[in-house]
Amino acid sequence: MTTTVGRGLTPVREQLPNGAVLIAKESRTTPAVTIHAAFEAGIVFDPPAHGGVAHLVSRMLDRGTDTRSAAQIADDLDSRGVSLSVSVNRHVISLVCNCLAEDFDAILALVADVARNATFPEQELATRRAEVITMIRQDEDNPANMAMEGLLRQLYPDHPYGTRPRGSVESVERIPRAALQAFHRERFAPSTLSLVMVGDVEPGRAIASAAGAFGDWTAPAPAPTALPPVTRPLRRQRLVLPMMNKAQADVAYGFVTILRSDPTYYACNLMNNILGQYSLGGRLGDSIRERQGMAYYCFSALDANIVPGPLTIRAGVNPANVDRAVSSIDAEIDRMAAEGPTDKELTESRQYLIGSMPRTLETNAGIANFLQTAEFFDLGLDYDLRLPGYLQAVTRNAVHDTARQLDSSKAAVAIAGPYDPAAR
């Protein structure tokens, strides 16, 4: 069935008989096309015995298919100036690239081949595994990364949201080729695909080309996977990860919050913007950077998802200021919970989120991201038209109600860097 929406982005959506979702939007700003293919094959689907499989699959996907070697794929992409980015997050593996309009059909066919027919050649596996191990070692040397991993471990014990996205060195060393192949077989299917194409290509032609590339794919849908329940921490937690060779400490602070589908999502989104995003980091930035001069960055992020997602706060501070920074974050959380936002703050954040939409939707990649998000959360093809109304409908009391769910006495805190609590 093909759906077209009038006004706004006006994307065209078609779901093929095999379940693949294709979305196309024409934009003649530049003679280029963004291809964004997402498969529900994220880290949450890592087999318990092999942490890091989804990530390693993402590193191996474009290293050989039934008909193309890694070298041939490289030549096909490089000769057209295309860089295919394959990345993984909690829920999806995404294949994203820009190509010139003249190369659209060829690159789309290549993306389809890579997604459908990846073979995970043994000789490539050794090299990619070593790369991933090096990346993990780099992560372990990065206080910002270590603090964030520590925070999520505290917020999501015994849940995939709390596992290390790339796995550990030990787990990655053990991943057999068969595990990658099994993961690919299970998770890469037309029913897990949503393909967005934005740029200098007529939507009907883009969809026809994509139907040609994916329409005959008959891989079975994966069995439903139930994720473990998420429980909100009931008490304050603190984790310190000493990294005494570093110059700066990183603080990660956070809570488990809501589902994306929660009716309070837009109020929570506005609360987060006021708390730690607006301008130079919202209230948090005002306090910790502007007034106290403690940090170059301090901001918050809300990742409401199909699982109750985290609200995370991050700051990079001199180790002598860690305790004061954490106290300042506590104070801002408590103040927001007690008083809520001011009317002025709500008006400003709302105006900003609505007003920034033309900027967000200027480029092909920006539009493609927006459409993928809307598809993943089932927000509708006209979400760009309805979003301002959702934000306009949020009241100050509603924002305050979401802030009341944040309790600093139940926050999780992780500190990584040259910080020695015993010395304080």
Partner: protein, 429 residues
């Protein structure tokens, strides 16, 4: 088409109408960067950039926040070796506000002493955050070693000692010296009407007086006569190798041949400092990728050559895979570079590199912000008129020019080699 005008006070104005989206991007570029800094005030250009977001005579401190966000706009700025720049991108109805902001920033920043002092620790935090990254630390050391005379040698963020001792008078004096219309270029790209916009520019900027100033002279970097080396041995988990070759400036005929050479060696990045390095280059078939990453010696290889006013560095950065000795990685890298230096590139490689760069030029011109950046960037380091000719210049490069450039620039005497060699952290034993 770019509308160019110079106001009576010397401010150069570049306006390009782009009507694909109801947006406008305004950038104000100052021809001052870290190369204009002397001993004792390294980092002042960057600190001044920070201070120029802290209120003006007509924008009270408490009204800075949100001044462009109310139009859904974003703002930012950056400082590098040749330039300091400030931008806003917002819906086109914010144009008047954006011009007002930049005119105020040019002439009326406050430099309240408390703000200067508070920003000192913010900048030191930024510096220390950078030092948390071994690759960034190595880059700083490599550059300081490769240059012995030219002020490109010190990091844009400055040396810690200078950041700890600079005064409000140092900052304000530097601001008053260099933030003059006769040292600036204002760029506006978007859904605007050029003649009407020019009138508004004149309204906001026309009364700002030009002031003569004398640019601090600096020593051109003498020719490097032999390989230089620097090793950082500190606790860490991963080894990094970095090579820096003295490279041509943007107006040198060798610049585009070196750009093409880099595309052959590490994949084409494009030429937009604001956006090019956010997406990885197409490099899986590039020479250094095949020789070093596919063979398992390195987990990544990144090449960088950017348009600069004076000759800067062509840098090649590699991350060693676990268990790979830096000596072995260096030997393999230099062997591959020597192959390029003595044997040159093939016509097929030239064609592929040119095609990659053509595609990157399309990709990196996808927004009013990116287009405005490029106009201002090139005007500040040379001339904006280079920007529309980039594709022609790339397509005009020949195999012979690339091979000659490889021979000139990839020689041992022209390189500085940097190692980050991780050692056990005994403090945690």
């Amino acid at each position: 088409m770019v509308h160019e005008q110079v106001l009576d006070n010397g401010l150069k104005v570049l306006i390009q109408e782009v009507h694909t989206a109801p947006l406008a991007s305004v950038w104000c570029w100052y021809k001052v960067g870290s190369k204009d800094e002397g001993p004792g005030i390294t980092g002042v250009s960057h600190w001044v950039e920070h201070m120029n977001f802290k209120g003006t005579a007509n924008i009270p401190r408490d009204q800075v926040k949100g001044i462009i966000e109310q139009f859904g706009g974003s703002w930012n700025g950056y400082t590098w070796i040749d330039q300091t720049t400030y931008l806003e991108t917002a819906t086109k109805d914010a144009l008047e506000r954006m011009l007002f902001i930049e005119s105020e920033r040019m002439a009326s920043c406050l430099y309240h002493p408390d703000d200067c002092e508070s920003e000192r620790t913010v900048i030191i935090s930024e510096l220390q955050g950078g030092e948390n990254d071994p690759d960034q630390l190595l880059d700083q050391e490599l550059t300081a070693t490769a240059f012995k005379a030219h002020p490109y040698r010190h990091p844009t963020i400055g040396w810690l000692g200078d950041l700890q001792t600079m005064t409000r008078e140092d900052l304000f004096g530097y601001y008053r010296k260099y933030y003059v219309p006769n040292n600036a270029t204002l760029v506006i790209v978007g859904d605007v009407d050029a003649p009407a916009t020019l009138k508004r520019v004149d309204h906001h900027f026309g009364t700002i007086e030009a002031r003569p100033f004398t640019r601090r002279p600096h020593m051109p970097e003498p020719e490097q006569l032999g390989e230089r080396r620097v090793t950082i041995a500190r606790p860490g988990t991963t080894a990094y190798l970095k090579l820096g070759y003295h490279a041509p400036g943007i107006e040198d005929p060798d610049f585009f041949p070196v750009l093409v050479l880099d595309a052959v060696l590490t994949g084409a990045k494009g030429m937009n400092l604001w956006s090019s390095f956010r997406t990885p280059p197409p490099q899986r078939s590039a020479r250094l990728y095949r020789a070093l990453v596919d063979t398992g010696l390195a987990s990544s290889v990144v090449g960088a050559v950017l348009p600069t006013e004076d000759p800067f560095l062509y840098t090649i950065s590699l991350t060693a895979t676990e268990g790979t000795a830096l000596a072995a990685l260096e030997e393999a890298t230099l062997e591959e570079l020597e192959r390029a230096r003595t044997g040159g590139i093939t016509p097929q490689e030239l064609a592929k590199a040119a095609n990659q760069l053509r595609a990157r030029l399309v990709f990196e011109n996808d927004s009013v912000t990116n287009i405005a950046h490029q106009l201002g960037y090139f005007e500040t380091v040379a001339s904006w008129t280079i920007y529309p000719t980039l594709l022609a210049r790339i397509q005009g490069v020949t195999v012979e020019q690339v091979n000659a450039a490889a021979g000139r620039y990839l020689k041992a005497a022209n390189r500085t080699v940097g190692w980050f060699d991780p050692v056990p952290d005994l403090s945690e034993a």
